[in-house]
């Protein structure tokens, strides 16, 4: 099975990158690609609980992240070091994503057939 790694590195709503990354993930999964989704850098802000996107007139990124498992995308991670850099705590982040360290991230990169970074 083809392994695709999607890395989402931007904060939600400021640009369309978070949305574009999620749409790519769903489309890939729909045609049978095995998707691993990693939140890195500012992308971790997408995982914050209690997002209200109505004030920025956008669909909620948090809600769309929660749909990933229903599309058989169970490998959803964030990079622990980036969480520390951003002074976030794991309690504030959605439980859909699991914490990984840089080593594990490097391994994911190494075993993927393709990588897309948004």
């Amino acid at each position: 099975m083809t392994k695709l790694l999607i890395i989402s590195t931007q904060a939600p709503y400021v640009t369309s990158a978070a949305q574009d990354a999620l749409e790519a993930a769903l489309a890939a999964s729909n045609v049978g690609v095995e998707v691993t989704f990693v939140f890195a850098q500012q992308g971790l802000y997408q995982l914050l609980d209690g997002q209200d996107s109505t004030c920025v007139q956008r669909k909620s990124i948090a809600k769309q992240i929660n749909v990933l498992p229903l599309y058989d995308i169970d490998a959803v991670y964030y990079i622990a070091e980036d969480m520390i850099d951003l002074a976030l705590s794991s309690q504030a982040l959605t439980s859909t994503a699991e914490s990984i360290d840089t080593n594990k991230f490097n391994q994911l990169c190494a075993v993927s057939n393709a990588i897309l970074r948004f």
Partner: protein, 112 residues
Amino acid sequence: MQHFLEYDGKKIEIDGNGYLLDYLDWDEELSTVIAQLEGIDLTPAHWEVVLFVRAFYEEYETSPAIRVLVKSLSNKFGPQIGNSRYVQRLFPKGPARQATKIAGLPKPAKCL
């Protein structure tokens, strides 16, 4: 160009394909109106799927692809209802598109 759906003295904005522009404009009567335009008389079996699709969108802000719809229906109602032939019979023009339209949801992205 603006398009509207008029019923019961109300004027609801829709897109060129008949999907609601704002899914919050919906009420159950609106589903009946859209279904009639689609040539469907809503039975309790239709309602079950329509309301399910709507709840799905409210939770995830995205309409389910057909295989996800079928799987989720199966998880909730069992394999009798969660199978593609069953939903295809209810919504002959394609369950993903037609059920979302009747549920007052935006048109699903072409890519998805």
